[in-house]
Every structure is written in structure tokens, then in C-alpha cells.
Amino acid sequence: MTTALKQRHDMDKKMDHDLLREAGRMVGRCDRCGTCLPVCPLFGVKGIEATSARGKNAVTRALADGGLEPTREALDIVNFCLLCRACVDTCPAKVPTDEAMVDVRQHLIDLTGGASTKYKLVGGILKRPGVVKAASAALSILRRSGLNGLFPYGMAPEAYTRSHFLTAFAGPAALGQQAPPSTVSVSDRSKVAYFRGCGMEMMFPEAAAQTRAILENTARLREPGNVCCGLPHLAHGLRGDFLDLARRNIRIFEEADVVVSDCASCGATLKHLGSFFADDPAWKDRATAFSAKVMDLTEYLAKVGYTPRQKTAAVFTYHDPCHLVRGQGIAKPPRELLKAAGGFVEMKGSDICCGGAGSFHIDYPDAAAQILDRKRRNIEETGASVVVTGCPGCLIQLAKAAKASGGKFKAMHISQVI
């Protein structure tokens, strides 16, 4: 190992050891008032204290203070979190429960001898861009390893494509209303790059293609060929891999002025990279500069004044991905775009997690299904024909909800309808 590599390795390790203390410090601000109880989707379905944000924070604090042993049960408790940030949003002391959970997971996994084989395998696949790109190859590896449940391939063929959508909604109201070509001109100086998320590539390539088409309308698009954003690794105790991927992405996009993501989770992760390298003098400035360039697709489109390619008779409702509404504070731009592309009805609890949460829906199918069921009822109540979102993880869940609704609505990525 070269000296530089060794130093980096030591730094990543050192950070691991400080993680519990850091998590303890974060949750030390929790005074256990209970404001988070009504908004925590998992407490909503389980009703047991340890499933709530307050409960997990209390466990974290007791672990950090040495009052509780780092057991398997403790790991189960911190794993049972959607990382949806609903608690953080409502907390009077702004306790970052999601960040604390990620840190405690890593700490406990380090103690108990590494991440589970399942996450190592998936993490390994996502680390290899060639494999992700050849989505079918990746999926066949997953299928052979019996892990296809993680990425329900069966979802993709059922996905509703843009051409289906246009056929279905190009009814009388849409006649003669073909939107004029986008009037936006982006100066040659802004180098706009697309960040291809693994979820979009592997499961919703048709939606990813639409994102490219939209972006090409606004700028000469660059695709420097990124690697995974690293969130799946970070969330499941593979912090070293996460940091490694982050460094590679920072390097890959060094030339770009704007990095656009059509996946809420990738976008939120990339926007926060700066904070993960705060203690690393070699990467701190580069990471911060990179994070500042990242934009969600809808955020970028609002900035350049994009007009949807068509206005149809479709009535939309919108599901806020946790990592977009709370992770990035973006709620208005997607709604504005949808209002310009058709009818719009707001659903009840639009910003409540759908239960997808990365691989949460695979690990805890019952809890995820209960959460999704509430989401489905809220969607049905709007009478909308299409529920739109901006995250492949949510889209998997919403496609399941669409199926469960018996065809009352379709689930689509925002790129497919604007």
C-alpha cells in the first residue's frame, strides 16, 4: 500500500471508531419530548417505543454512554429506520436521527465483524459501473445469487413508459396543444453533466432516457460515466466503500459546472459529500466544491425556465421523495412542472415516506407494506390518474401501489411526463 493510500485507510478507520461518540453527541440534543412520535412512519405502524426516532436516539445515547451493550438487538433497532428525516424536520432541537443511525450502524457492524454478506455483494455490484450499465448482467448475477428480491426485476417490464403515457393522455384536451420547443438557451460556458444513478439505470432505463432527452434540450449534455453515489454502502456499514466512491465521483465531475441527478437519493447524497470530508484536508475543498454543483433535475429545470414538452389531460399527484423534500428542501419545482404538464391534485401526506427507503422494503416487507398501503389510499383519494415522483426507490414502491390499486392510477418518473 502506498503511503497516501495507507494514510487514507487509517483516516477512514479512525472515523469509524469515532462514529459512536459522534452519534452520541448528535442525539445528546434530544430531550425525549416525543414531537417525533406522530410523524415517524415506523412508530405509526409498530407502536413500539424502540421503533420511534425517540426510542432509537435513546438507545444510541445509552450505547454511547456505556449503559447498553452493543448487541444484535441494538443493530436490529438502528437498522429499522427509513432514514426519511420526518423526525428531523419536526424536531424542535433538530436532532439528526438519520445521520446518527447511519453512524451507529457502521459502528456496530465494525464491532461485529463486517457488513452482512448480502450488502457486501450488492455493494460490490454497485461499485462496478460496467456491471451497472449492463443492467441485465447485474440483474442476472443478483438472480443467480438469490438476491433478485433486492431489485425486483419484475417491476421493469410493468413500468409505464412515456409512449404509453402519451397515447393514453393525448385525448381531445391535448389536441393542438403540443408545447413549443423549449425556449431556454444555456450558455456554452455552463458544462452540464448527467449523474446516472444505479437505480435509474438498472430499473427505469426508459425514464433515464427521458431525463437525457430533456437535458439535451437545455444544454450540450456530458456523461463522464460516474460510479454509484455510495448511499447503499453508507447506509449499511460499508463506509470505506462509500468514501472511495465519493472520491471517484468528485474526480470524474471535476470539469463540470452543473451535475444533474434524476434520483432524489443520489442527489441528496452527493449534495452532502462536503460534510463527510470535513476532517480530510486533502479532499475537503474538492468535496465541498463538488456538492455545490449538484442539482436535482427539477431544481435545474426551474433554474433554466424549462417548459414541459406537452400539456395533456392527465391529472397528476405527486409523492415527495424523502431525500428530495427533506434531503434537499425541494417541493415546489416538481409541482410547478406538473401543473404546466397537466392537471394537478395534492395528496394527503404527500411528504410521508412510501416505505421503500433503499432496501428497507426488502428487509422489512411487512412494515413497508403497511406504510405503502396508507400511501396508496392517499393517492386513490385524489382521483389522479398518475402518481409522479423523482426517485427510483419510491417508484418501485409506487408501482407496487399502482398494481394493488387495480389500475386506478399509474406510477411514473417525472422525466416521463414533462
Binding site: 416525543g34 413500539i48 424502540a50 435513546a58 447498553l68 433497532i77 424542535p92 432541537a93
Partner: protein, 462 residues
Amino acid sequence: MIDAGIKKKINDVVGRDYVLDSELNRFGYSYDSSFIPLLPENRPDLVVLPRTAEEVSRVMAVACEEEIPVTPRGAASGRTGGSIPLRGGISLCLDRMTKIVELDERNMMVTAEAGVRTIDLYNHCAAKGLFFPPDPASWKFSTIGGNVAENAGGMRAVKYGVTKNYVMGLEVVLADGAILWTGGKAIKNVTGYDLTSLFTGSEGTLGIITRALFRLIPMPKRRGTLQVMFRNLDDGCRTIHTMLLSGIVPAAAEIMDRTCLEVVARHRKTELDPEVGACIIIEIDGDDDTSLEIQAKGIEDVAISCGAVTFRAARSQQEADEIWAVRRGISSAVAALAPHRIGEDISVPRDAFPEVVRRIAEISKKHGFTIAVYGHAGDGNIHPSLLCDLSKPGEEERVHRAVDDIFAAALSVGGTLSGEHGIGITKRPYIRDALGEIGIRTLKAVKAALDPKGLLNPGKIW
């Protein structure tokens, strides 16, 4: 300890899914939102989550027979340790009992199970134009059983009173499992002792409140929110006092000091005017806009004569909601300012409010602690929050002396230890000063009569 045989009996009553005995699940029921530290743990031996009063009754019968301590719990949002199981045993968590049983519009009364969240009860009644006024800051998550057991107050107490002013009757499971009904829908009722009042505010030490009947009042047709900034707390206190004497009774009149305002500004990433040292938030209500305008004008005149820096009336419901959200979150936001926060809940006669606020400022200076001050200025209930770091050597002793001084100040002006949080564990050392020997003896006599084995919420109040 609770052996397998007893566990089986309890499983048979509530179902296996609603009995928790793993280490960390029990840990989850070992704390509340008081400043009692998480460690050393006060873990129950078993957590039981019943769904009906009948299940509570059968669990209590087992507990009574086996002499197992039982600590009732709702959302554990209490501030004095009331739901912490000090002696192990069973944590009896009632948050699955969430049924609003009946809204009787003709009699303007509502019956709800103990686990109904306060805000859900409010909204349920409001949908029919009826008003359930008690609104503790925690109303979005606190449960109504806990509100009754602690006789919770809230922002609107200045005009509408506290929880006990609305309780008409209770369903209570007694220590031996018998189910008692007290009170009823008759407005006048002197048939026997007033047991409804006895159980209200009994902090889970006399029986398990499983259901409550509340009276309601018509919903005010219009509401308005005012926010007034002052240079110091004294000007704010004087404004509220003068306003009340002039005959204006707002629905709520809250005060907060500079420390509170700074924490709000930090969370909202805004700059606080350096001139501002205190803020009052007022809710007014009435039948029409004219009535609100008259009240607002009256309050503005008083505030200006008392040296107000700015006066602002919320222009929309959203603006009003934002102002109140800030007030409701103050307690926890202030708590996050230091490693430890000792929050108190003294209550004094209304005219002594400015005096006691001044004395708290002196106590803060004398002992060298920041004491953030906020509270219900309109009804004399104030929450001094002492910010400290108990890991520093000698700090705990100094904190005790400062808290002694705060309580002494409250009692010396004719006030009391707790306005709305109860005594629980945290104020237990001071209760003798407040009630005297005879007072304590009487409480103990009542306790012995209703809970002879001392199983219900042991270790609380005295």
C-alpha cells in the same frame, strides 16, 4: 422479577404481540421527557400494551395477586418522571387505547379512551364546532389519559382553565382490577365524594384512568395571534398585567426571554434585533372581526405604553401557526442548548408574576447559570430552564441550591411547585415545603385507602 407463569397469564390477556420483554424494548419504556437521566436505567420487567379497559382490569388483577408494581404510561411526554417505572414491574402503556367513543353534541360532551392524542380529540370536536380548550405544548403527541392524570394545563389556561375544568367523569381501573365509573353527564352532581376530581391529577398513583368524559364549549368563531417584542422581560410582564387589569382577557398570553428568542433565530437562520430582550405571544378570540380588532387595538395601546419595540398581528392562519409552533417547540429547543437542562414549572398568583421573574434573574446571576425563562404569563405559570453541565465537578450541588432558591421564591409569593407538570420524581424533595406535614399525611391516607399494597406508580409525589 416476573416469572414465565405470570408472563403467560398476561400474554393470555392482551396477546403475545403486546407484551414486550426483550432488553431494548424494555429500555424504551424506562424514560420520559423529564431531565431524569437515561442511565442508570429504570427498566420495567415487562411492557404491557392493553387495548381495552377490560384487559387493563385483568392485568391489574394479576399484578395485584402477584404484588407486581404497575406504572401507567401514555406517550411518556411528561416532564417530571411520572411514567418512569422506578421499581421495575410492569410498564402499562395505554397508547393503543385510541378510540373516541362518543361525541354527544346535544350535551356538548365527548368520551375518549386514555390513549387518544390531545390534538386528535381537539380536531374531532372542532369538526362539529365544539371546543376542547386544554392545550399543553405537547398536544400533538401527548395522550389524554396522561393529561387527566397530570391535570395538564396549556397556553389557553388564562381564559379557559386547565384539564380538570373539563373532566366530567372517568373510568378508572382500581389497584385490584375493579372498574370504577365516576361522575357523569349531569352538570350538577354532588352524589358522594367528588372522585372525578380526586383521580384527576393523581399521577397514576391511585388508579389507571382508561376513559374520560369531557365537557366542551362552543368554538370561538374568530381567532387572532399577536406578537410583541420588548427590550426586557419586565416590560413584557407589565404589558400582560396591565392588559388583564384593563379587562382584556386573551385566550393565551405567553412570554419568552432573549435566550429563547436566540435559539429560535438560530433554527430559522435569522438575525435577532439586538435591542429585543423579550417577546410575548397573544391569542385573542371572539365572535367577529370587530371584536378581535377592538382587543388587538387595546393590547397594542397597552404594549406601546409599556415600551413595546414592535407589534405584529399575524395576517394569515399560516403565520399564526408558525408563531405558535415556535412557542410549542421552545422547551425542547432550549434543552438542546446545554448538556443538561433542569426545567421547572412554578406557578404563582398572577400579580406576583413580574416579581418572580425578577427574582429568577437574580438567582441566575447569583449562581452563575443561564436560566432561560418562558411560560404562561397570563396565568402566572412559568418554566425557568436552568442550563448546566452535570458532568462538571460540584455542578450538581450548585444546581440544587439554585433550584432551592427558585422554589423558595415561588412559595414566598404564595405560589406552588408545579403548575401543570405534576410532582412525579423531580419535585418530590420539595413537596413537604409546599404542603406541610398534615398535607402529606392526608395524601398518604388517600393512597393507603385506594392502593393498600402500594403497587400503583410507586415512588412518586412524596
